[in-house]
Symmetry: C2
Subunit: 411 residues, 2 copies
Amino acid sequence: MTGFAPLTPPPRLLMGPGPINCYPRVLSAMSTQLVGQYDPVMTGYMNETMALYRTLFNTKNQQTMLIDGTSRAGIEAVLVSAIEPGDKVLVPIFGRFGHLLAEIAERADAEVHTIEVPWGEVFKPEQIEAAIKKVQPKLLAIVQGDTSTTMFQPLEDIGAICEANDVLFYCDATASVGGNPLEVDKWKLDAVSVGLQKCLGGPSGSAPITMSQKFVDVVRTRHHVEAGIRDAHHESARGPKIRSNYFDLGMIMDYWGDERLNHHTEAATMLYCARECAILHLEEGQQNVIARHKVAGDAMLAGVQALGLTPFGDLANKMSNVVGVVIPDGVHGEQVREDLLLRFNIEIGTSFGPLKGKIWRIGTMGYNARQDAVLHTLQSLETVLRKQGMSLPAGAGVDAALAVYSGAMNV
Amino acid sequence: MTGFAPLTPPPRLLMGPGPINCYPRVLSAMSTQLVGQYDPVMTGYMNETMALYRTLFNTKNQQTMLIDGTSRAGIEAVLVSAIEPGDKVLVPIFGRFGHLLAEIAERADAEVHTIEVPWGEVFKPEQIEAAIKKVQPKLLAIVQGDTSTTMFQPLEDIGAICEANDVLFYCDATASVGGNPLEVDKWKLDAVSVGLQKCLGGPSGSAPITMSQKFVDVVRTRHHVEAGIRDAHHESARGPKIRSNYFDLGMIMDYWGDERLNHHTEAATMLYCARECAILHLEEGQQNVIARHKVAGDAMLAGVQALGLTPFGDLANKMSNVVGVVIPDGVHGEQVREDLLLRFNIEIGTSFGPLKGKIWRIGTMGYNARQDAVLHTLQSLETVLRKQGMSLPAGAGVDAALAVYSGAMNV
């Protein structure tokens, strides 16, 4: 069988809501040859990866590891391992990914309760507290940053509310992690799952998670060891089985823990990748990376505003790393995206659900939270919009972005 | 945070039951920069990957794609998408991975029926037919090659039995694919899942699957579109929801199909990898790769026998790509493995369950199904066993392997 060319994708600049371009060092890490899954070198890398993500998550949680799958694999592992059929789960929804949390919890046969705000807004702690008191859920599941709306949900005050009401506090921080603050212990989070393909500058395919002892204790009420590897000293089962083998966090903890009890075969390349993403993040310094995302996001926002475009949603609660831009009347949104992609090799994002066809989403994430990436994108957007017949203040977008960078030259 | 060295793993020669060393071109492919998930270049790569695995699986099945996870993610996707609670599933078990199929089906609340043969044997078609007639299952789930025992289950005659009894025929061919024959259409298989980390010469982390139209029709009775991305033209749901969102093959088909309906974000690096694994396999030629595994496996078998060691199990039904070797009396099995690893950088495998501590498992898979790899392993094993006090015919293992290669010089 012939006719399949080598991989030579065009050099896209990925300025959408993710995935984005990988850091070059992450790409190099992924071409590293394998070692066996129980090789002391490999288990050493696994332990290092746990330590790196503890630091990245700002947690002391022992149970910090990778789920082998995309970010929604991490979500499903957390939810299906915590939820028994009939358990009450509260999901505050402020965008597409809130719906996803509710959907995954429903499939686990939770009794799912949702509260919603319009797309473009977030919740006040009082709204969540009132719903918790009314529903009395076992678990609160919420997204930190929802790329579908670009909104960022403050979490600082929710942990105390959950603790006071004996509710497990879970957050999907896939879209926000790395580019925005995330203080797992300080904010009293019981479980967090993320992905690599946003501000951490890797590809999709590995989902770092962390679990508090309180969360682990819940998972451990449903202990199970597979028949094919069970020894005499293993208790075979305790409590109702978690419905998924692949996402059974008890078994995954036993695989990452001292016993190294066989479960899946760790996706070594994606572990190499996740490890390198975290090293890059911590070498640069968490606060520095967050600041770099802030200035890139501010510059992109200032740029699109200076071009006369309208950003979407409540800007006081926007993620640093993505901005929604209202598609102006008379402009063909998809034609603009296609011109950017095919003429300039720049990708910006479309939208889902109620925002479909109404906004573009422009990201400044990970490796691409860079001045040159912001400037090229604004210049190219201006050119493409002018081609669509719009009258725009020439160079205003780039000038506004440069001004933001001039006021923050150290970033 | 400092102190994390760059990835410089030792150059292990992985001669266990998998994972094994990646083909160099596969490693290179994984360092390729990303494009966006709906970029025509990316959807082109996705379509190419589907076509490549159709050829590799010897099928015309349209629904041939990747599950983003390790090989057991592919197993779980197939089982949880086909099984409704209470459905009868028959699992013939001849090793650890048969137990795994039963375990995953149980967690999906199937009524699981098992038949077993001792580890080291496989089933005769009559045994499976008798069980099918007795149980009348909806689905038969069986492993083709079980690395826990090294056994290879012939499948040629089982498809007709399943068809005659209106049973869906699913096979996990993770350990055997690429190194042994697999004729999906000819053998009337309805679903097959595999992994990359054995004879296909990639890392763990992507699970190619294929589904017949009959299987697809079963999955499609449980259609669902996520709330956050549902448009007016979408029917929201039909039939009982599949219990997993991540493994909902209906949604995964919609993502890989013409509608490109958003589900997970495809793990692009692992897709690059899976694509390259298939290209390498098909460029070399399926029959040539199978023959290369056959001679490497024969040479390794002849080598260990010439050293006076006893192979495990029914040799008439051994997979080409792995041999079990009974650990001789008086030899410390784990010490041998450690010496091989730390002195010779060669990894061979330990065992599970009833075979734990009783056999080593030595693989000759993918990139490592090579004459030099076989010879180095036999030489090193001889040296290490002699160090343990065994008396061995000097050089006999290597000589026997060389003789096998001399008789098959074109491979």
